[in-house]
Homo-oligomer: 148 residues x 4
């Protein structure tokens, strides 16, 4: 990574490390670029639903975080991000050894960023898309006391 | 609970106990009625986001499960439920000692059930609504091998 | 109507009368209260889809307008409203002699209002809910040049 | 167009011509391919909102129709399509001389198809994306009496 890339990764990684839920789910930050972030999460019984697949909530959580951080990469340092709302379609049961979620900013506005998310189930060579999300992320002023 | 109520609670509780993610989040089944289910979850750093509030993903997870189980209460015993899609609006930061999510079926169709969900942050006497969800739940045939 | 009610109705009716699409669809403003607005639309072949029912787009349009105006009733006079996003579930085919859409504000924030919408198909004594919406409405500053 | 392409176009155009609302909005079928449909609509005061832009409901209507027909292109002849639900984000005010909406199927299932939609405002050489949609379309059995 060149210095700007490394600085951006560090900014997002600092915030990511403060998300207790990412630790709880075993999720890690896989890639950071301007307007796009990828998060990985291994399957484990700790994130399962009643049929033994990954719970829609666990998949949703990493897609939401990927979308939020994708938005944050495009915000000035004195801004923070909060999820306003999102919609997710589950395309297939989340069956795999691990999962990958990517958020990509579609439009970065002054007050809100619209972000598209995807989740993939991975098993060896196989990659299958399991979810698609549309999310609205709020740009929050630093004077609210929120760290980014 | 009278016998039908107890049987319904047992049916949902059996499935709930197989959701590893509910255990991981510390969530528990609080109430079951035909067409309505409530789930509780205490706050802990294990479910936090970067500002120290409960992560939108954790809130979303219990609302999704509450909506799915609300739908399941209205399905015959030989059917299973899968989340098709949902949309959630986060109304306020999820700050509280615990959270409560309720799903209520708006329309039970032959193939899909439409369910409305809510989440509340609770702190002593204070109850504040923090999220509202609209979800579509699929009615799955038992011959798919899925247990309800 | 008392004077404040009449003033609020006039404010919304002025804006409504500038929506060419409402005229085109034959829609009219039925009720205005703080945080809640109702719009009516008769069925006609001009709003049909291919099966002869009312088109989801026509139903969606009046629910979106009802939600936007419900938000506007709670905004200061120097603000305007723009739809940021919404999600709608169609609960039943839109079959009736006319339709009614109501928007009700769930949360009025400084920057966005979250609004719930409903649509009903009416035929004589029969009223059947045909849609439910969750919408996010932006509060726009007057210095953008937009009239409310 | 080769014969299969022409047959597919005819199938969609037959249904499109029965949508009274498309005539009312001045919309026309611009392109049909397996899994993708494009609809065009000129701006006119008849589709405006209160600020003089195209109404979000008009934009939504052509995106919904494009998504529904994109789904129908992948369904057997004895099936019909109904919109189950959708979510739309408005990315920018709909200002242009005409608008284009495209639906593309993301996943064609046995019971539902998930479709992504886009809308663009066009003015001379300029093309600006004004909306993005995620939609769930139901595959309806012909024995319901619905024509496709």
């Amino acid at each position: 990574m060149n210095p700007p890339e490394a600085a951006l990764f560090t900014r997002i990684a600092d915030s990511f490390s403060r998300q207790g839920l990412m630790h709880t789910l075993g999720a890690s930050l896989a890639a950071v670029a301007p307007g796009a972030v990828t998060i990985r999460m291994p399957f484990s019984p700790a994130i399962s639903q009643q049929h033994g697949f990954a719970h829609a909530g666990a998949i949703t959580t990493i897609v939401d975080s990927a979308c939020g951080y994708a938005a944050l990469t495009l915000m000035p340092e004195d801004k923070a991000v909060l999820t306003s709302e999102f919609k997710i379609n589950l395309l297939a049961p989340a069956i795999g050894t691990h999962f990958e979620a990517t958020g990509r900013v579609l439009r970065a506005g002054r007050r809100v960023h619209v972000v598209q998310g995807e989740a993939w189930a991975i098993d060896g060579e196989s990659r299958k898309q399991v979810a698609v999300m549309l999310a609205t992320m709020m740009v929050i002023d630093s004077d609210t006391g929120l760290k980014s």
